[in-house]
Assembly symmetry: C2
Homo-oligomer: 541 residues x 2
Amino acid sequence: MCHTLVVNETVDHRLRSAWTPEAGHAAALPPHALRWLADRIGPLTPSTPAAPSSAIAVPPSELAPEAKAALVEVVGADGVLDEGSERLGRAGGLSYLDLLRRRFPDGLAVPDAVVVPADPDAVQRVVDVCVAHDVGVVPFGGGTSVVGGVAALRGDKKAVIALDLHRLDRLVSVDPTSRLAVFQAGVRGPAAHRLLAPHGLTLGHVPQSFERATLGGFAATRSAGQASSGYGRFEDMVQGVRLATPSGPWRLGVAPASAAGPDLRALAVGSEGTLGVITEVTVRVRPVPERERYEGFVLRGWHDAMHVVRTLAQNGLAADVTRVSDVDETEVTLALKGGVVTGALRRYLSARRVHEPCLLILGWYGRAPQRARALKVLRAAGAVSLGRAPGEAWRHGRFSGPRQRDALLDAGVCVETLETATQWSRLAELYDAVRSALRGALDRPVIMCHISHAYETGASLYFTVLAARDPDDPFGQWERAKRAASEAISGRGTISHHHAVGVDHAPYLRAEIGDVGMSVLAAAKNATDPSGVLNPGKLGL
Amino acid sequence: MCHTLVVNETVDHRLRSAWTPEAGHAAALPPHALRWLADRIGPLTPSTPAAPSSAIAVPPSELAPEAKAALVEVVGADGVLDEGSERLGRAGGLSYLDLLRRRFPDGLAVPDAVVVPADPDAVQRVVDVCVAHDVGVVPFGGGTSVVGGVAALRGDKKAVIALDLHRLDRLVSVDPTSRLAVFQAGVRGPAAHRLLAPHGLTLGHVPQSFERATLGGFAATRSAGQASSGYGRFEDMVQGVRLATPSGPWRLGVAPASAAGPDLRALAVGSEGTLGVITEVTVRVRPVPERERYEGFVLRGWHDAMHVVRTLAQNGLAADVTRVSDVDETEVTLALKGGVVTGALRRYLSARRVHEPCLLILGWYGRAPQRARALKVLRAAGAVSLGRAPGEAWRHGRFSGPRQRDALLDAGVCVETLETATQWSRLAELYDAVRSALRGALDRPVIMCHISHAYETGASLYFTVLAARDPDDPFGQWERAKRAASEAISGRGTISHHHAVGVDHAPYLRAEIGDVGMSVLAAAKNATDPSGVLNPGKLGL
């Protein structure tokens, strides 16, 4: 979700802690934001609140006693958790559908046990046991998937476990000369940064899921962080991976580059737990930048905004964080800020004849020479500098979006994000098509969009959609909107730029990679996971 | 082969034209170079010369008449060539073994016909015919493989065709906004540059095979060009591919980046014709740089040279072309130049206490700000500037290496190149191990090495080896040396940084990608090419 709703963060463990014991703080919505929303998308019907886990009837575990005993033998009794609260805590991720299901928990897919191995070898043994007992395995890192990537589907298996990787929390080794670090897969974003800090190094991978998501998850889903313009996508950082597969251990990556056949790292990365469980990743690291500087500008309309970001990206001048909001997202940002400052800003922009402001946030990690040249591009485009305050405000709220969704759901809002990418020449067409599709599928939606990942040849589009939730058919409402948006994307761009496929995007994968591509994926899975225990139902496999 | 032997290029079509009708000029060796070689690696036994094709007994074509008729139906009678000279012209590539076989042609693998389709659809139909008639298909672009990648092996097939792609020579479309161009696969390096020039664009991909190799071949083998530090490897440029496979047409790549499952482009790229025939590539292009500037420096010993190149690469200051020779390669360069200039240079360097000179060539395509900062790094390292002459000399001879090998073979020299890459912290160890292995396997070899591709996390090593050819067992001599070097590489680096796998590196692929990786490759092949007609015996498939 976009940062623009970041207002008045408060601490409220109740909303999520029942479901996700390690969740961060949820955020309430201030009254003026709710009034604004009701005015734009209302009327709103406040929702059934999320049920506390104690109130949910968790179905009994289907894990056979022999399978459980074999798992206990590998990870110890305290590594196999089958209490209802633990299983509920891994019943899906953080998609809108996941949040909805916690309010309407009928048919919620709950794993039959949570298994918590302590190291990569134990993961391999757990996988072996699951193969021997024909038990499904859902690898579970931070549980932040927004596309159903950790849904506890069991496919044709009688039982399925959540393979929770949080004990794989070690920095295995650091090679400062080669700027490489080997991490176990369960290390979360903040821990990775903390573990690297004594070496003067940083990962530079800062997606919105940073606080909870794991390095294994970043690799499994081809994550892209907010600083991707400077640091690349996570897949660009991965030099090696270690996986546990039903066909045995698998290690890849001995060199910075190779022509030794197809790059199979690219098959493991993005496989979303269907080909193997990633247990270690070797990643490129960099010296901690001497300073970070965030700043805001206003550009003149969406067309100009796209042009400016393209110019920056194609001349090597994109800031590490480069992010531009469309007119609607910019308007919502200003509206939700409210008050005197916003009024003054509106007058200031109006005096400069900025009639369709598009907020641009740039975050520089060092790189002063590039910044100087980028500012010239911005001046030439008539950009209006807003100084550091908007940049700092963005930085402050950069991880907060997901935490506000429960408050929005409480208020009766349907809130969803979706994203895609395409080449520059098709970006405007894709933008129009998605907005048009969403407007057709939803009543009075607010549709906001930003570009947060710019490349030489194209860019991503990230949409945040708000609508009054249909109190009678909230799931059907989402499904219709999702289908409309996905069909608009299909053929014009990728079905996902960084959210991955999971369950939600699986119906659209074939159109993107072809019948041959689907059969290649299925064949690869059959090679690594012949009995199909790994993450059933994801990637359409 | 390294540029250092570029001296006195002369025009001599005889040496290669019989085998490769479109080959460039071969180069003779000047007397002082031959004397130097005989002194260092001799005595030399001048060789059986390459036989003219008319003197070779080409085995009769095994292509069944029905198969030939079906092929003629697709590509016309003038698209199916089964004369001996045409078939000989596609009997392998340009490896040392290939050159040897042209002197000792017993057992030469010759395709049963050369098929020349005119467009991607025709390629698909040719593949379909070959599946229907169980005929092997060796995709043939520029024929520059140095690892047996286009050897006309037939596997379990009775007949095999060379699928020559040179008629697929079109620039299909250009999208300057997105900096993308779609090329047919048979376009050669110079043609690509010529076709892009009217648009003010360039590919920036300039490997040593540039003059003859094709864009389809660059993609199929994960080629890396001499300007890879600035423009990236070819796989970094490829945004999309179109393939003809026995399971049907396959298109990949709709966006600059995606998280829609594993990146299957990375499976098609590097598949060396085993999964499909690449018929089109969509590549990133860039504006033609305003100027190119090549210059030379001398660094103080190999250890310092590696350190300087690493410093440049890790600070974003590597020139587009960044290439440093070790002490031995530098010495050979100077020795072969001979004469007054070299003597003066030696005295100049000696006066500056450069006792172990390592020649550094930098080629800048624009990028003046980076150059200024790079020069500071060089000054701090005590580098001695040689000005532009060595840079221009390198540029002049940048594609000439392969053309000199026939002259070396005539003189009785065994000449081979091999290359690898690893992370920076292991580079010195890998360098030592390969040299030691080659010294153990060959008598009095000259072993030269350079780094020509530097990354943040590591670099390539490119070795050129010269030895007196064993007149009694030239093939065995090569095999022993190749095995020794490959075993030294295996486990320390990649078996190939940019030459690909073909036949020569196939025995070492399993050690690099594991049993699981090999089974994944085999499964992918089984999905796209169930009857195994495509490029039998390559990649160990």
